[in-house]
């Protein structure tokens, strides 16, 4: 499982005004890893995840992606983001476009594929996420679970090297959580490198290769799931687990 280091985070800090949210986070994420991030609400999980593709601009420290320091001034963030997929809690499918166009827009406009190629790929991806008949539908016509599967397909169309998930199942009705987690599990099995902020402890335990607990702006503990859940050492993690498990 310990492939090349894909992402290296060093002393990452983020302040909103005088509110310090990330207070020096350092970690490495290697190819093929599935890292689950858990922690209490407001502890900075989203901020951390969004710093990895620079949707938030860190106020200190650095992020190195595939050997390039992307937090350095002058970095072409758009180029970097093509290789870092992101899936949002609120899906954020493009409301003005059909499902097929949602998937093909970025690859075509960024010149990675021509239109036919992209449509062929969209078709494959729709098969893969189990929604082959939705190509011409609009996002508003889909259920939450379907939207999130399409959002994952849209990310996959860019052939990312790593995918970031920010609570991908938190906005779903309970009966739809399974279909999305199932798909993520398949991705993990196919070797996709994933960083997943989640409240789904079952997913963290079964699918993740490493679980990370963030509280008060720092990583309090990170470990393989077995050890993490059965033998937590940090007191705040113990308290947290006793509440959520």
């Amino acid at each position: 499982m310990s492939g090349n280091v894909l992402l290296e985070v060093k002393e990452l800090r983020k302040d909103f005004g005088d509110h310090s949210v990330l207070k020096g986070i350092s970690t490495q994420i290697s190819q093929g890893e599935v890292v689950a991030i858990i922690g209490p609400s407001g502890c900075g999980k989203s901020t951390f995840l969004r710093s990895l593709n620079l949707l938030e601009t860190p106020t200190g420290g650095s992020v190195v992606f595939e050997g390039n320091e992307i937090t350095a001034p002058g970095t072409d963030v758009n180029k970097i983001r093509q290789k870092i997929g992101m899936v949002f809690q609120q899906f954020n499918l493009f409301a003005n476009l059909t499902i097929q166009d949602n998937i093909t827009l970025a690859p075509v406009k960024l010149g990675l594929m021509d239109k036919e190629e992209a449509q062929k790929r969209a078709k494959e991806l729709l098969e893969r996420v189990g929604l082959p008949d939705k190509a011409d539908a609009y996002p508003a016509m889909l259920s939450g679970g379907q939207k999130q599967r399409i959002a994952i397909a849209r990310s996959l169309a860019m052939n990312p090297d790593v995918m970031l998930f920010d609570e991908p199942t938190s906005a779903l009705d309970p009966e739809m959580v399974g279909e999305v987690l199932g798909l993520m599990k398949e991705l993990a099995a196919d070797g996709m490198t994933m960083v997943v902020v989640t409240h789904e402890m079952g997913f963290a335990r079964e699918v993740a290769t490493r679980v990370m607990f963030i509280d008060e702006g720092v990583i309090c503990e990170e470990n393989a799931p077995q050890e993490f859940f059965q033998n937590p050492k940090n007191q705040r993690l113990k308290d947290f687990l006793s509440k959520v498990l």
Binding site: L55, N78, Q90, F94, K109
Partner: protein
């Protein structure tokens, strides 16, 4: 009935007076149409500069100029703007009055279109923008393919309304001696000394134009709404 026919003949048929109405109608159409186009062009440009400034902090100078423009255009009466453009700005050059009117109404309308479009851009969920950027699309591509189409759809009713206001506002064109529809009717009234026929005719034509415009806007709205259930 005989009276009606007499009045009608007097006001529209004798001396081919209907031609004042025709000429005015055509001028009103030309002014409105081109002023709308100028207004859309200016309005979208200003809205994009202003919301880009809000989103990215760039274009400080552009934003400042836009704000001056908006303040002046929305803070003074349209008629004064028309008179200033005709008698002050274009005083020494000899250009067609219709052109002056297009410039005046286009500049004026642009200010209102700008704020309508800007509110439309702001009404699009921030997540749409982030999703675009997270895929590697740059700011311009995200605006062009994702944000603007949704913003446009959101503000279409307000834009339609603005164009109706603009169409009716061109009725002050007579103040620079231009024969628009209103002025055309008024010329007839001045000749025949009968108010009812020419004024009602003019009012009916405006009504028809506005109704037609509303119909087009709502048809367009329905077509753009296919992506909602």
């Amino acid at each position: 009935m005989q009276n009606f026919i007499n009045e009608f003949t007097l006001n529209f048929i004798d001396d081919n007076r209907y031609q004042y109405i025709i000429e005015g109608f055509i001028n009103t159409l030309i002014i409105s149409l081109f002023a709308v186009l100028v207004g859309i062009a200016i309005g979208f440009l200003v809205a994009i500069i202003r919301s880009s400034h809000d989103k990215t902090g760039h274009m400080k100078a552009g934003n400042f100029l836009c704000r001056i423009y908006l303040t002046v255009m929305r803070g003074t009466p349209t008629m004064i703007q028309l008179l200033i453009i005709y008698y002050v700005i274009f005083a020494t050059v000899n250009i067609p009055k219709v052109f002056v009117a297009v410039v005046a109404f286009g500049l004026n309308s642009g200010a209102y279109v700008a704020e309508i479009v800007r509110s439309g851009i702001m009404s699009v969920d921030e997540g749409q923008f982030e999703a675009g950027r997270s895929l590697g699309l740059n700011y311009r591509q995200t605006m062009q393919f994702i944000i603007m189409p949704q913003a446009f759809k959101n503000v279409l009713p307000a834009l339609g309304n603005e164009f109706i206001v603009l169409l009716k506002e061109t009725s002050i064109s007579g103040y620079i001696g231009l024969t628009d529809l209103t002025h055309g009717g008024d010329i007839i009234r001045g000749i025949t000394f009968s108010a009812f026929m020419p004024l009602i005719a003019v009012a009916l034509i405006y009504l028809l134009l506005v109704t037609g415009l509303s119909w087009c806007v709502s048809k367009l709205e329905r077509r753009l709404r296919v992506n909602e259930r």
